[in-house]
Each structure stands twice: as C-alpha cells, then as structure tokens.
Symmetry: none
Subunit: 597 residues, 2 copies
Amino acid sequence: MSTKAIVTDPAAYHAAGVISNGPLLHISGQPGTLAGKTPSDGVSQIHLALLNLHRVIAAAGASPRDIVSLTLYVVNYDAANRLHPKPLQTFLAGHLPAVTVVPVPALAVPEWKYEIAATVAVPSPTVPRSLPSPTDADVDVLVIGAGLSGLAAAESVLQSGLSCLVLEGRDRVGGKTWTETLPSGTGVVDLGAAWINDTNQTEMIALARRAGVELIEQNTTGNCLLEQDKGPTVLFPYGQTPCITPQIQSELDNVREMCEADCQALSCESPTDPALDSLSFYAYLQSRNVSPAALATASVWTRAMLGQEPTDISALYFLNYCRSGGGLIQMRSDRRHGAQYLRVREGTQSFAQTMAGDLPTNTILFGERVDAILPSPRPGVVVLSRTGRAIRAKKVICSTPTPVLKTIQFHPPLPAKKQLLVDSFRYGYYTKVMLVFRSAWWVERGYCGLVQSFKGPASIYRDTGSPRDGKFVLTAFLAGESGRQWAREKDPRKREQALLRQLGRIYDEPEVPATEFVEALGHEWSEEELSGWGCPCPALPPGVLTLAGEALREPVGNVHFVGTETAAEWKGYMEGAVRSGRRGAREVVQGLNRSRL
Amino acid sequence: MSTKAIVTDPAAYHAAGVISNGPLLHISGQPGTLAGKTPSDGVSQIHLALLNLHRVIAAAGASPRDIVSLTLYVVNYDAANRLHPKPLQTFLAGHLPAVTVVPVPALAVPEWKYEIAATVAVPSPTVPRSLPSPTDADVDVLVIGAGLSGLAAAESVLQSGLSCLVLEGRDRVGGKTWTETLPSGTGVVDLGAAWINDTNQTEMIALARRAGVELIEQNTTGNCLLEQDKGPTVLFPYGQTPCITPQIQSELDNVREMCEADCQALSCESPTDPALDSLSFYAYLQSRNVSPAALATASVWTRAMLGQEPTDISALYFLNYCRSGGGLIQMRSDRRHGAQYLRVREGTQSFAQTMAGDLPTNTILFGERVDAILPSPRPGVVVLSRTGRAIRAKKVICSTPTPVLKTIQFHPPLPAKKQLLVDSFRYGYYTKVMLVFRSAWWVERGYCGLVQSFKGPASIYRDTGSPRDGKFVLTAFLAGESGRQWAREKDPRKREQALLRQLGRIYDEPEVPATEFVEALGHEWSEEELSGWGCPCPALPPGVLTLAGEALREPVGNVHFVGTETAAEWKGYMEGAVRSGRRGAREVVQGLNRSRL
C-alpha cells in the first residue's frame, strides 16, 4: 500500500488529492453516537463520529494517517461558526486526506448532526525484520524510559532479584522533570513538573526524604487577581471565590461544587459513565445550565491542568482526572493536601537523579531510543533501538508517554483497542515560562502571586521563587488556545514582552514587570517527541474511555505499560508516575514468578 | 480481488467497513429513471435507481455482492417513513457494504428523489478449471432439472431422435410439484402446484389423460368471506364482488376492470411498456387514483399470486403475468377456464412421474447438482456436477428456476443482460399450509371455503378436500409480508394455532376449527436452494423487463433456458412449465439439425 498527496495549491489547508495504491477500507457514514445514544451537543457529536470512524480504522489495522478521503456531512451548517475544523484537525494530526464538507438538511436519524464517511488505505502488514543474532543483551526485564515511572519500575524490579536494564532516549534521567540552573546564578527552575505534597503523595514525600531535598511551601499569603475577558480585574484573597458580583460568586461556588460532587461519584480506577463520556467537558457544563461566568472559570481548569480547551476533552476523562488527585478542589489547591503545595528547592529532577544513582552501574543505557518490539524465538520479546542494539527480555515495561507508542513498531501490531487509545491520547498545549525578576514586587504590593486570566496569553501565574536564594520568579502557564496562539510568535523577546505586558495590565503597574525583569526560561514540550509532544499529561476526547478504557493498563503479551496517565491516583503528577512504575514492576515480577512455578 | 468486512458492532444493520483489494468500479450517482422518464413515485424510483446501478455492475462482470460502499442521496427525507430500506435490503440480499444515507435538498434533476452512487470490487475473472478427460458421458442434449419443464424438454428431445440425459439435484422428479400422503391415510396433499384446467391448459389436460388421474372440480358452491383490516367480515356469493358498501363494490369492480383492460392490452410474449414498467404495481394503482379499498383488494392479488407485496413488483411484470394466464379475471377464477378449476385426486406429482416413467431407463441421474458449465474443446459444453461428474453435451437445456442460475458457474460468464435478469428475479414469500379437518364444517355452514383476508396471517383460504376420500382440507396461502411475519414463528404448533384462530375469527366460530382440526402439512420452499428459494414463480421489480427482458428466453451459446417463468402463456403454472420445456426442446432440435446440414 502506498499513498501520495497531489497538492495544487500549497496555501490551501487540505491537499487537493491523494493517490492510493493497494487495499482500501470503505467506511460507512459514522454518526456521533456512543453506546446507542446521541448527545445533543454538536462538538461532542463530532468527537464521537471521529471516534467511531477511528474504531473501524483501528479494527482494520490502520490509523487516521492512512485516510485517503473523508466526507463530512453537516446538518444546520453555519459557515460563520464551524465546529468541526478543530476536532478534525486534531484527529488528523497534520495528515492531509482529500476532505469534502457537505451541508445537508438532515441525516438518517433526526438527532444526528454530523456523519463522517471515509476511505482508508490499508497498510500492508509489516514483516518483522530478521532478528540480529546473537542479541546484545539478555535480561529478565527491560524498562523503556528513565523518567520517574521507568526508574521506579526498574528499582522495584531489581529489588525483587530479577535482572533489569533501562533504555533512555535522552542523555539525562527524569523525563518530564527537568531542572535548569538560572544563568543569573540565583538557583534553579523546574521546566517540567514542580509540585508535590507531604500528606497524600506518599511516594513523593518518601523520595524527597531519600533525596534530602528542601521543600518550599507555596506562597498563598496575600491577594490573588482574576483578569476577566471584559470588565475590571478582580482582587480576592487566596482560598476565596472571586466576587465579580454576589450573583456570579454564587454561580462559581455552585459549578465548583457540582463538578466536585460529580467527580467524587466516579471510580478512580475504572471510571464508567457513557453519558458523561459522550460529552465534552464544555458540553457537560452547558447541559447543567451553568452561567457564562461559571463556564469561563471552569474553562480555565482544563487549560491550567491539562492545556486542553474544555471542548476538546471528555467530561468523564476530566472529572476522573480530578478524582485521581483527590477531587477538583484538592487538585486546584496550593495549600496543605493540595496538588501545588510544596516545591523543591534543588529542583524536581533530583528525585530521578536519586533513584538513578541508587541503581547498579550501567543499568541505564542513554541515547537509546526504542524503534521496535518484536517477538522472540524464546519466550519474551526482542527490543530494537535506533542505534541497532537488540536486547532480549522476558518482560518489557514501557514507561514512555502513551503518544510515544506511535513511534514504536510493534510486532504483532497492538490490539485494536490499545491502538485506539494510543492514537487518541493527546496533550493539550501547555508551556511554563519562568519569569525571573530582581525583586518580588508583587509580594511587596500585598499579592501572593496567583493570577487567573480569561484573556491570556497566560491563563495562570504562580509565584515559584525562593526568597532565601534571592530568586524571585513568576511562572506563567501558557495553556490551551491562548497559549497556542502566544507560541505562534517565535521571537523569544516578543514572547517575554507579551507576558510582561499582561502582568503590567493585571497588576495595574504597566512599567514595573518590565523594569524588574531579569530573564525568562521555558521549554517547548510540544516539540519533543520523547515526551509525546506535550506536558503534563495526555487526555482523551469523548467516548474513548468507554470504548477502549480497559486497554489502558492491560499488558499486551509480555509488554506492560506504566506512566503517569496510567495511574489510578495522581494522574499527571510525579506521584502518579512513581505509583504506576511500582504497579508495572509488581505485574512483571508476579508474571515471571508464576511462569517459574 | 478480495473483500473483507470490518464490523465493530455486530448489532448494527450495516457493516462499519469493507476492505477491498484489487480493481474497483466507481459508479456515478444513478437516478430512478427508465428510458429517460422519472416516475413520481418514490418506491418506484428507488427500484429503478437500484436497477440502473445493477446494470452498471453487471456490465462490469460484477454483482451486487461485490459492492463495497454505497451512498444513497434522498430528497425530502422523512426518518419516520423511510421507503428505501426494504428495496435496498432485498437488492443486497444479505450482503453488507459500507452504506451512507445522505438527505439532500434536491438532486441534479428536479424530478429525482433518489440517487445511488457506489464503489464495487471487480471480481477477478474466474479461471475455468481444467476439464476432466475423458468425460463421463457424451450426449446431444443435457437437461438440467427433472421438474415439469425439464421432463417435457427431455421427452421432446428424445422424440426427435437425439440422445439426452437429465441431471436432477433432488432424489425425486417433479420440482415444485410435490405430493405427500397424509399421515391420517385420507389421501394426499400437494405441497406445491395444485390446479389445472381442461380448456385452455392443453398440455396439462393431455398429461392428465395420459396419467389417468381423476380430476376434482374446485368447490365454488356457497358463500365466500372477506376479512377486512378494520370493519366487519363481509359475506358474498362466489363470483360476485363483495359489497362492503355499494360505493366500494363499484370501486372494486372498477379496479378489476381497469387492470383487466391494461393486461389484455399487453403482448403475452414480449410485453413492452416502459411507463408501466417504471412503476411498482402499487404505484401504478395509486397513479390511477384508485380508492383505499381497491388498493387493499388489489394488494391481495400480488400476494396471493406471487407472494409479493405490490410495492416490490413491476406493474408491467404483474400485468403481463396475469395476461399469460388469459387475464386477471381468468387467473383469479376457480371456475371453468380459470387457473384454479381442477385439482388432481392422486396429486400433481403424478404428471412428472408419468413423464419420467416413459423415459428410457437411466435417462435421469438423481442427486446430481450442477456446479459449472464450461466450454468444451469440441463444439458444445461440459457440465460439471457437484459429485465430480463431467458430461459433454452439444446443447444444454437449463430448467432450473432462474434464481438457481446464481449457484452455477458459467464460463464464459453470462452476458450482462442475462446476469441482470438472474440477479433480479426473486420469489416473494409464499407458503401453502394444508389444514386437515374431521369434517367440512364450512360446507355444512353454507360456505365454499374461499376466504380473502386483508389482515392475515393467511391472505387466502381455499377448500382442497376430496369428500369421497373423507379428506376435508382448507389450504391457507401465507403470502407476502403477513406470511413472512407468520413464518418468523418457528414452533409448528403455534403456526397452526395462528391459522386456526384466524379461521375461527373469520367464520365467527371461535371453537370449531380447533375442535375439528386433525393435522397440518406444508413446505417452506423459501428455504430450498433447488427451487430458487421460493414458489410458485419468481418476479421482477420495476424496469428489469425493459432493460433485460429480451434475455429471458434467449440462449447463451449452447445453453437454452426453460422453466415456468420463461413461458409466454401460463407463467407460474404447470402449463407454463411444460410449454416452456417443449419450446426449449424445439430450439435445441432446430439448432442441432441446422448444424448437421
């Protein structure tokens, strides 16, 4: 099978034509239904129609990249308010099939607003390459990735007495924890994960003690600010609901309580609720008739926590994500028990460095990106790296972020449900920029540094300084659509200035931020293949949990899957990563002990 | 070429996807037109659009089973009254391509209400298998099938001095005539064809004399009953029009006279009338503005005569079918000259048994189903049977019902028009159940036994007893949609009880039928491949006669086609079968004599 794009107008969004050569999969029009029900919300329907299409594609052993033509039928088409381009573009992920949009007066079933038919070029079954013989190494357990989950897994595997190797594609440990020293010499900043707590994050607090690091309480003393899309910036004490008007204040309390109750009602481990899963988080809020102000506030949550627009993410996925961190309120909290309670003075990469330092020498091989996982003639698998290394292992623990699995060839191919999950898990846009200042000018003015903005570019700011080091930092969270827009500007000076302008506007001090500014550090996780093109945690659009959620933690043959998004508790956090690594180690140790009997 | 269905939800009507591998036929949207005209009736347009699609498919050497995707465009789509599912399902005959229904505001031509586009996987040309050498036999004429048409053909061929063999798939002669002895020992019942007459059925009366059978006049003394869908059951003397109201009585007279006149205007041999052929019989009646009561009555005709719903059959085909039996009135008549005038005390299978008994020993080979008809190195063809027998013949007379031709491989393939006919000819649902009673309780109450019902399950009842044998029988005709529904119940007891309840209701004697009941016999012709999955005669949807009718009796190379549906006169009756057999024999004898000159 081969395809070739014919583009007559390179400026046009989609290719004008695609040549296919080989077997084709012809897919009937797929409506936006889940478990036989059709949500009334259009965007949710589009997500579900794409998912139903995706399911057929995966069942045929193909992927959305193999689509050659796609026809989208739309009822009540409104050219001025097109809901499909974003979910469709996200689904296609840069792939350009021949696309035709067809407005129609109705579809086969009155509730259906969208239907998607497609033709797909079916890839030839890949032939496993011949195995190098002899292999370069032979171990009980091979761990892919030396982030927190992979290192936790390797440590536990070795403790059980089994042999273990870790392949790491980067030249460092830590994965999405990465600590950089400030050029100004005033300490370090965390480009990735930054917060833990010492009550319900048992793995992290144990690691912190082991690493001997110093913990800094998040500053919540003083006032916070809320920048509205229109209207004045609102000042409110940390821990209270901003009072735009008493009416709106009560609306915000209500939406928070409603989401908290709905997320507490879910199972942490196996959330099941097709009705919730059929809706985007935004459609879920709308279906509960929340007010525009409450919608705006709740939209900040999916952005600040996952970089996702609330229209792009399943309500069930988001509520379960919150549930995994103890609930929406705990997940949003910067105080004791909260998700943003404690920072690490030495940087969070020390956790991985501590674990790595305790492993036997040469347990980790750096610069080894895994390319393929093949069946082994003896029980187990053979893992091939891009440098040509071949390692036989009885069991593999894959700790890469789920989207990275797309870059690894599996023989035999992953089961359809697992593949659906792999192809559906996506990061939102999420970049932290650490703005270093000469002074904590916000503290001097009575603020704790926490800012929310409906306007952007940054959705959230938090104080991440270390006063005793003379380090004064505000971290800007560029997340979701406004963050993505900010990132289109490639000049780092202009990027910085946009943030300094926003701060000047919010604090009503147009000059101070720019005057006090020293330097800015950040990292574009979205451009890094080994992080799965994003941070902190990939998320799912509507319906996937219902159709394929069971494949999340299920091993495939001798390959086991860990990583923070596979955790039942503290998904998206370092705690979840470590817990998932321990779970993966338990699975392989039990499996190998059983097979020894 | 290969195809493979990818079904993610087995409960869904259509397959979610179909993989094709090999050449594809891309077919432009086919409208429901015939000979450049578009009927205004929606159902007729669907039939014609499917036919136009079918024509392109057949021209490419493919069949509807090879469709991989189909898009149906519908103007004025009404989800609550979808006209397309039944014709489409009948057309696809269990095949499941990827189907998309697209409601549209209009199509290219204002009259078009439906348009169907499709992609078809073109089958690889089948390679004729190598011929066994030497062949098992070598004859002038091989006849396939030992029903009445095949036996009549064989008899006439042998009379001309040519050598002849008959291959019969069953272990008996008679085809769709089949006589069973009653367990109660009171005589026989005919599970298939039952009636002849002694005036215009010259072949049958000659055969009856030759067989020495005793003929029983159909009982038409006494009253008939009409069960309405709503309203009281109406009593009327045999031969008169039931008088629901004088107004309705005149409407029924009018519709009968109109159809009679329209059918008498047609050629028996080669009916040609694209306007009539473009309409279903139902749409034809509607286009003549007949009343609801007349529509209901006329609907019973297509059910009782062919097991077809009037929406499923071409008006031209049905009127020509009536014409072939001398007209609607003669065809419906149980009196002298009528189609249901005389029954055979010994059963109608005696006709075939008499003819078979007069053939030279070993002329008929039983249990030999024909599998393929191949070209012969010498002039003629080689016929392969499923048991592996290979017979060379100069000419073949194929007497199987037309739908059975689908199960025979032809090399070279049948011409496109013949294939279109073969794939389009279908039986309706038609089962007779003979209900045996202890007494002729209906005669005692002044009835002749003829009952019509708009309600079902049976559409018609007729007295088929033989009083001198102490055999008292009512035959229920389960036909069309209400018959099909009745047949969904698989328990024979419950099936019987449904009929006894219907009789009790109609005769206003709730207890009598059940009390007098002895036993019931019937046969599901729709489950029998060798009868072409039905009885008594296959029929055509709109348009096929116009596009491919000429292929009905036209030989293909050295293969000639007979069978009751190929008869010009008395289609669907034993008379038509015998006449067609004689005609086939004439064709081959003339052909072989010509080639001898």
